[in-house]
Each structure stands twice: as C-alpha cells, then as structure tokens.
Amino acid sequence: MNTKPPQLGRASAAFALAAAIACVFNTALAWARDAYAPLNNLMASLTGNPWITHCLADCVVFAGLGLIFRKTWAANKIGPNHLVSILIWAVAAASLGLFAWFLLF
C-alpha cells in the first residue's frame, strides 16, 4: 500500500513558488516606483514607459525563478498544502498591499 502523501509535480511546485514571489515582487516594485522617482525614471528609460518595464520585470521574475526552482527541485522541499497557503497569502497580501498603498499615499 502506498502511504506517501500526494505531491505536486516538479514544474507545478516550482512555478507556484515563483508565482508567489513574483506577486510580492510586483507590489514591492510598485511601491518602490511610486516612492522613489529616480527608479521610475530609470525604468521609463529602459523601454520608454515604466509600466512596460514593470510588466517585463514581473515576467522575468516569474519565468526565471520558476525555471531555477524546477532545476533545483527547491519548491518540492515545501509541502504541497504549505505551498498552496504561501501562494494564497502572497496574492492576498500583494493585492491588498497595492490597494492600501494607493489609498493611503
């Protein structure tokens, strides 16, 4: 009888953790851009619009970390239920963090 608890696949776990980190990174970058004009200007100079650079940075973080975690099996060391919780809390915190930032500042 197989008593091993179900695990997420290698890619699924890797990109779930990458998605959680990318969501938090997205909010942190939005805060940093809004609070520090030189960063916003630098990002604008890279692609012509800071929002486009922001979008590309998020994609690079998600894809890059996902590939790294997939190669190193790093995310599979975290239990699947824990990984689901990390993703849900990361999305909730990142989303509310954006709303609160633009409400307060």
Binding site: P5, P6, Q7, L8, G9, A11, S12, F15, A16, A19, A22, C23, N26, T27, A30, D34, N49, W51, I52, H54, C55, D58, F62, G66, P80, N81, L83, V84, L87, I88, V91, A94, S95, L98, F99, F102, L103
Partner: protein
Amino acid sequence: MNITSRDIILLGHAAFGSLAGLAALWVFVETLNARAESAGRIYKAALIAAISMGAAWLLGGYWYVDFYPADKAIILKGPWPLAHSLFMETKEHLVFITGILAFYLPIAVRDKIYTNAAARKMVLSVAALIVLTGLAVEGAGAIVNHGATVALQRANGTGAR
C-alpha cells in the same frame, strides 16, 4: 456610428479579460469533479485563460500607454479623481498578479488532478484567485470609465443635479 481603433482596443481588452475569468471559472468547476476524461478539457480551458489574459495584457497595455494619458487628465480634473489615483493605479498593477496566475494555470493542471488531491487543491486555489482578482480588475475598470464619464458630464454642464 464611428468605431475607432481606440474603441476596438479598449473593448477587446475588456472582452479578453472577461474571457480569461470565465475560462478560469470553467477550470474551477471542472476541477471540483475532475476525472481522467475531463483532463484534456481542463487543460484546454486553462490554455484559453492564459492566452486570453495575454491578449488582454497586450491590448490593455497598448491602450494604457497610447490613449490613457488623455483620459487620466480628464479624470483628475473631474469630481472622481480617485477613479485614477486609487482604482486605476491599483488596477494597472493588480492585473500583473492576475496575469501571473493565469500563466501558471496551464502548468498546474498538467499534474494528474483527478488522482492527486494536492494538485487539485492547487488548481482550485489558483483558478479561484484568478476569478477574484479578475473581478476586482473588471470592477476597477468600470469605476475608471465612470470617473471619465462624470468628468466629461461636468465639463459639458450635463449630468449635474
């Protein structure tokens, strides 16, 4: 009737965003009772969600960069400046979170969700988060639109009570 490319881009953005949300809802419902026979359908729905979200991003991004600055100036002079300073600012960054989740969904559904409870829980969570954040983004879009409408009504002297 004069339909401009600006109109098509904006409506296409909203349509693809809604389609992505509906596809994610489809994935959620199918996953609740996932079977081996439904795995292919779930994968197709997840792909539709990801591709639609990509299209919504491209169209919305083009519109935001090229056309929105004029609307922004109008909104900020109107009676609902929060439509830009709170709702558009939040929406333009929250949409990245919805997009990342939508791009992850086809990867998550590749696990055998009909036999693997952990994978099923992950897919249900991601699909639900896409729907919830997508609804928030759609709602914010409606508020931005209304912010521009009331600003134009005030400028034209109509709509005031």
